[in-house]
Amino acid sequence: MAEFMSLRDAIAANLRDGDSVAMEGFTHLIPYAAGHEVIRQGQKDLTLIRMTPDIIYDQIVGMGQAKKLVFSWAGNPGVGSLHRVREEIEAGRLAIEEHSHAAMANAFEAGAANLPFAVFRGYKGVDLPKVNPNIRSVTCPYTGEVLATVPAVRPDVAIIHALKADREGNVLLEGIVGVQKEAVLASRRSVVTVEEIVADFGPRSTNAVILPAWTVTAIAKVPGGAHPSYAQGYYKRDNAFYIAWDKIARDKAVFLKWMEENVLASGPDSFAAQARRFAVAAG
């Protein structure tokens, strides 16, 4: 049953050295505040799982906390490279397990469905199966078609950012919902940060994406916790920061100084100001 905690306590109670962790959010609702808390606490030897590692994993990898990255597209969207990730891979210091988006999405879904592997039609005529031994195949027992398989993603911990929790600890997501529901349901434990905690979700679509309280381990309220990504209806994506990150991350020393000033010497409360800065006009 979901327990309301401070972000510090939620991460400390749920993430340990050596864990596999999926901090999901497909461009939208990326859990930056929670990721920064992981950096401050310094958990080590993490296996980081994310379809699009984005700046948050560039930061965690750059701080030396990851031993392995499981991913399907490792770039700064619309800008270029994730320089910290790229440097570690090119230097051979970071193990990788690389997939396509379709494979990762299917693997999260298989994890949520409590299946051992995902089956889909893909990876035809390409080189990734030659370098990733986890990409295999199965023959359809009905048609004889050979289909691609990948192991289900079953992280120790899922970390996501959502719009709201109610007082019972149910969690609401809207907008681009990515694979967050699947990530939480596929994981042993989960930490959810939210923009706000409300008495009642109020009027909503009966098909809104809701994670019931009994599927979530810990909830922490962190307004602005997805900045520089965004929260639908709350604040916009800080595209200027994504562009600026290219310069910050390119040089290790500049990166470390930025991390010292903006993450290590900071805390979750700093995110609220960013939410106000990029606030969506009330409508």
Binding site: K124, D127, I176, E182
Partner: protein
């Protein structure tokens, strides 16, 4: 007629290929610019789909990322990422996929994964993302890429997404039923696969571009079709709509 850049004519030539009937899986960058230019000019009813889950989206500015809020705000509906890849892409609902790449070979196979050996990369690129499955599930593929010796390769170090494999019949041999790349739009010319061999062949030159220029920017001996057309120069409307779109986008992302 106002002057235009090579990138502008590339984007405009790509936009002209699209129609109101197309259901497009759109990638970020040049593909996104071309698809939205088509929507804002001759193809207002085109259906644009981004892999973040947004169906039938109508952004007023180009997204910087594949999942900007603008895409969700202007979409008919937004689905989860597993649903996007399973029901919509693998389900065969997309007529046209738009891809870019870091490197391409003469059979339109693409590399966006690595330069040098996979285990000891010289340059680590972002990877495939949606491309490996976009390349096999969309009815046909349009590729947009600027030409250059480091991009148009005689042999790719890594195949991230399938074009025509090693030539005519490769896709069929792999059990792939879609057409694959049918157009490669560059900043200098348009290539199409040869009907007999599937090798990329120049079928149109952009105005003022010479055959030597194309060969100088390509790592394999370029083949030209028997009849090579000239791409019509961009007209004033195409240029002004494209430039307005880029100006709005730049202002929005700097805010």
């Amino acid at each position: 007629m106002s002057a235009y850049t090579p990138t502008e004519i590339m984007t405009i030539a790509a936009a002209r290929l699209l129609t109101n009937e197309d259901v497009c899986f759109v990638g970020i960058g040049a593909p996104s610019a071309a698809c939205n230019l088509a929507r804002l000019t001759h193809a207002p009813k085109i259906t644009l789909i981004y892999e973040s889950g947004t169906l039938s989206t109508r952004p007023s500015v180009l997204p910087l990322s594949i999942g900007d809020g603008e895409l969700c705000d202007t979409a008919l509906t937004t689905v989860s990422v597993p649903e996007m890849f399973r029901y919509w892409l693998q389900g065969g609902r997309i007529t046209t996929g738009f891809l870019g790449g870091a490197q391409i070979d003469r059979f339109a196979n693409l590399n966006t994964t690595v330069v040098g050996p996979y285990d000891q990369p010289k340059v680590r690129l972002p990877g495939g993302g949606g491309a490996p499955e976009i390349a096999i599930h969309c009815g046909q593929i349009f590729i947009i890429m600027a030409m250059g010796q480091r991009a148009f390769m005689d042999k790719l170090p890594f195949i991230t997404s399938l074009g025509h494999g090693t030539g005519k019949g490769s896709r069929e041999a792999l059990g792939v039923k879609t057409r694959g790349p049918t157009q490669l739009i560059t900043d200098l010319c348009v290539f199409e696969p040869d009907p007999e061999t599937s090798e990329l062949t120049v079928t149109a030159l952009h105005p003022g571009v010479t055959r030597d220029q194309i060969q100088e920017n390509c790592g394999w001996p370029v083949k030209f079709a028997a009849a090579v057309r000239e791409t019509p120069a961009p007209d004033a409307t195409e240029l002004s709509v494209l430039r307005d779109l880029h100006a709005r986008t730049k202002a929005a992302h700097a805010a």
